[in-house]
């Protein structure tokens, strides 16, 4: 499952990235490293972009980027 599959308000734990190159580096720099808790906060119509809570900040990602972040969904808040 990826970040793009989280429903609004749902939490997940980052497991890894399928992104390569500078996008991979960029996502890591933002703190999307394995074990990081994330929450989907706000979504535009159609789900792209969606705003995610990551380590104290909120970042919006387009669907094609969010789907390159692998997460383990959680039922409870992290």
């Amino acid at each position: 499952m990826t970040l793009a599959d989280l429903t609004r308000g749902q939490w997940g734990l980052v497991q890894g990235l399928s992104a390569q190159g500078t996008l991979r580096q960029r996502l890591l720099d933002l703190g999307l490293v394995p074990g990081t808790p994330v929450q989907a906060l706000f979504a535009a119509k159609g789900g792209s972009p969606t705003a995610y809570y990551v380590r104290g900040s909120v970042f919006a990602l387009r669907g094609d980027t969010a789907s390159q972040v692998l997460v383990e969904p959680k039922e409870e808040a992290l």
């Binding site: 490293v33 706000f42 970042f59």
Partner: protein
């Protein structure tokens, strides 16, 4: 003891780094090129305890891995310029992310000070930060500040000078020697430190920012809300600018009579008086009277929204449309800059890393009206609206017309981007990550001063130095006759067939051509052209202007197409030069042809439809 030192300011975006920079340097600022990349860095200086510190504001970055031009610039500066002290500005409410960058900086240099900013915000969130523990964990001085209130700045200056002089020797604690400083390792360490020095951070999705975002970012209410806000800003600008504009016009008119009397008393002949007063003075004062009041209202309002944190939300809401056009998400931001000044919008396209999408942003920027064209839209909108719907209240109708023009310009931007990414500039869109920082109440006083100095005066000054010689040139063209007809009229007659086909006339096209240096002077040129054929009139207010236009055969279609053409025609000379510098000479012509083609096509279609 050193008498001078070089200080670098590093930090994540939205940590209040520029507030710190402004507070430390005051107005002693300039931009300059530094070793490494061509990114311009802001620099300034301050004196403290007998030491002159030159301070360079590095671009706000999340990291130093050189994955973007800003990061490369920041990293190059730290490595090549070898600053005596690096101040890392950290967000006390978002410690992990700030510490990640701080740890990277500490791997490059030990001459560092951590400035723990936004302490007021942290207190409000009851984070209970243990500053001495943080100092212990990092091994460098930590200075808590709340730059917006001026708290902790003296202590920060003390620490900078002490580290620069060697009185304080930071001994940073790095990752264990056998650990690679990867993002994972750095974040793990940052997390560990943050847990030891701070209480639990606020829950996401709670508080003022999350509450407001539920409305602002809502799929249903987001865009209507933005439009309503834009309408409000326009309404304030139009209504607020009317009276001061009128006062300025009257004052300049009195000034003109004084100037005339003075020249007459000095015995100046008409060939000197007329070009100076009727050409140069009138061109100049028109631009000031018409442009200054709306700019003095619009720019501060825009800056307030910007500082409040509204621009990234606009980008978020519009991104769905930009995705469909194959454009980069940040193009929404460069477009927003274009509303201020297209040349600034073209420069702002540097924030887009991917060359193809950067080019799309540059080529389409002129499709949104800059501040030089707003007065044209407002004036023509008022005239067209009062003619088409006399019942509506004047300012409301002009707000609606201008709003419609703005929506049209955004649609044209999207359509042109779609066209470019589908034909000339094919390719896959690159990734787009947008931070939505917490809303922060702007400091109204600072915004008023800075937006007046940086934006209003700068744009006005440019308009003035262009308007004066253009006013003079136009007066000469309008008054030097060849075979009993002024040169201007000759040119206008030659352009007339094309102008008529577009629902305009030759003089209008000529005004846009002569207005190439700056859009602000299109209307004064037009008036001089019309009036050169008739007796010279005083243009005291809009009704006099309307009378002149009607006398020259204007219908509401002319006013409408004038607005359309003002929206979509070639960029001004400054913007063209900027495009040449930013994208290369071969993109200047396409950048001029694209908006012109849109304008010609729309005007032509409107003219045909109306004449049917």
């Amino acid at each position: 003891m050193k008498a001078a030192c070089l200080v670098a300011l590093a930090g994540n975006p939205n940590t209040g780094k520029s507030t710190i920079f402004n507070a430390l340097t005051g107005l002693k600022q300039h931009t300059g090129n530094w070793p490494g990349k061509t990114v311009e860095l802001k620099a300034g200086s301050f004196r403290h305890q007998g030491c002159t510190c030159q301070i360079v504001d590095l671009p706000g970055t999340y990291s130093l891995t050189a994955a973007s031009p800003e990061e490369e610039a920041a990293r190059d500066f730290l490595q090549l310029a070898q600053p005596d002290v690096v101040v890392v500005v950290a967000d006390a409410t978002c410690l992990q992310r700030s510490l990640h960058l701080a740890l990277q900086v500490l791997h490059l240099t030990s001459q560092a000070v951590l400035c723990l900013n936004l302490m007021d915000e942290a207190r409000r969130q009851r984070l209970g930060l243990d500053v001495s523990r943080l100092e212990e964990e990092l091994g460098v001085p930590v200075i808590p500040t709340a730059a917006a209130r001026g708290e902790g700045l003296d202590a920060l200056k003390d620490a900078i000078v002490q580290v620069a002089q060697g009185q304080l020797k930071p001994a940073p604690k790095l990752l264990p020697p056998d650990t690679e400083p990867t993002a994972s390792a750095l974040y793990r360490r940052a997390e560990q430190i943050a847990e030891r020095v701070a209480g639990a951070p606020a829950r996401p999705g709670t508080g003022f920012t999350a509450g407001l975002d539920r409305l602002v970012l809502s799929p249903r209410w987001g865009i209507p809300l933005m439009l309503a806000l834009l309408a409000g800003v326009l309404w304030l600008t139009i209504v607020g600018a009317g009276y001061p504009s009128q006062l300025l016009t009257e004052a300049f008119w009195h000034g003109e009579r004084l100037l005339s009397a003075l020249l007459a008393a000095l015995g100046a002949p008409p060939w000197l008086h007329d070009p100076l007063v009727l050409g140069l003075y009138r061109g100049l004062t028109w631009v000031v009277a018409v442009m200054l009041p709306p700019m003095a209202i619009f720019f501060p309002l825009f800056t307030l929204l910007e500082d409040f944190g509204f621009l990234p939300r606009i980008a978020f809401n519009l991104d769905r449309l930009f995705q469909r056009s194959g454009a980069h998400g940040k193009q929404a931001l460069t477009m927003a800059m274009g509303f201020g000044c297209n040349a600034a919008g073209v420069v702002a396209a540097r924030i887009i890393d991917a060359p193809r999408e950067r080019l799309v942003a540059i080529l389409t920027n002129n499709l949104v009206p800059c501040n030089g064209r707003f007065p044209i839209l407002i004036i023509m909108g008022t005239i067209a609206a009062s003619a088409a719907a006399p019942g509506l209240s004047g300012s409301l109708a002009s707000v609606l017309v201008v709003l419609a023009a703005l929506v049209l310009s955004v649609l044209a931007t999207l359509a042109a981007s779609r066209l470019l990414t589908g034909t000339l500039l094919k390719g896959e869109p690159s990734y787009f990550i947008l931070e939505l920082p917490p809303y922060r109440w702007p400091k109204v006083g600072t915004v008023l001063v800075r937006s007046f100095l940086d934006r209003t005066l700068a744009v006005l000054w440019r308009a003035v130095i262009v308007a004066a010689p253009c006013g003079l040139l136009t007066w000469i063209l309008a008054n030097v006759s060849v075979s009993q007809t002024p040169l201007l009229a000759h040119l206008a007659r030659w352009l007339d067939p094309l102008g008529r086909a577009l629902g305009l006339d030759g003089m209008i096209l000529l005004a846009f051509i002569l207005g190439l240096p700056a859009n602000e002077i299109v209307i004064p040129i037009l008036l001089m052209g019309y009036l050169s054929a008739n007796a010279l009139l005083e243009v005291q207010d809009l009704s006099a202007l309307k009378a002149i236009l009607t006398a020259n055969g204007w219908s509401w279609l002319t006013a409408l197409n004038f607005m359309v053409f003002a929206l979509f025609h070639w960029p001004c000379a400054t913007t063209l030069l900027t495009i040449k510098r930013e994208a290369g000479a071969r993109w200047v012509l396409p950048a001029a042809l694209l908006p012109t083609a849109v304008g010609v096509l729309l005007c032509f279609l409107l003219a045909i439809i109306v004449k049917l």
